[in-house]
Symmetry: C2
Subunit: 86 residues, 2 copies
């Protein structure tokens, strides 16, 4: 896969899975990776960002952070969207 | 209390406590309120922001969001800092 943008949705898998997904996307030439997490996974989403930042350092840039809420199965949940670029 | 900036640290109390704290600070004339949450409380911090936004709407502005990690009792924890202004 290659292209402009990749999305990594952070869920219940181990943190390292998501870190690896982000690193692989960037290595494949994707210019921008969006990390998204909802509800209880928001903390993990930020932990993924921190771990990616540790590994890739200045090679990636934190482009934007968006927070808000959305409806999922009629329940309102908070989310975070972290946009990374290189 | 009145002044330029107020800090609300989101912890284990009910969400509505923190929403009320933010609303009271703004009503007291504080120009900027910082919502801060760590680890598992990050999701709740964003939920507080959403609830405040519901109540105060365009009267407040989302000025900045910062994410990162810090050491607390020798353990690394993620945090979020949401800066609201009016």
């Amino acid at each position: 896969m290659s292209g402009e943008e990749g999305l990594v949705s952070v869920g219940s898998r181990p943190l390292s899975d998501y870190v690896l997904s982000v690193v692989i996307l960037f290595n494949q030439g994707v210019k921008r990776v969006i990390l998204k997490g909802r509800g209880v996974n928001i903390s993990k989403t930020i932990a993924v960002y921190n771990a990616v930042k540790d590994r890739l350092g200045d090679a990636i840039k934190l482009e934007n952070i968006e927070i808000g809420s959305e409806y999922l199965n009629k329940k309102r949940v908070s989310y975070i969207r972290i946009v990374l670029s290189r």
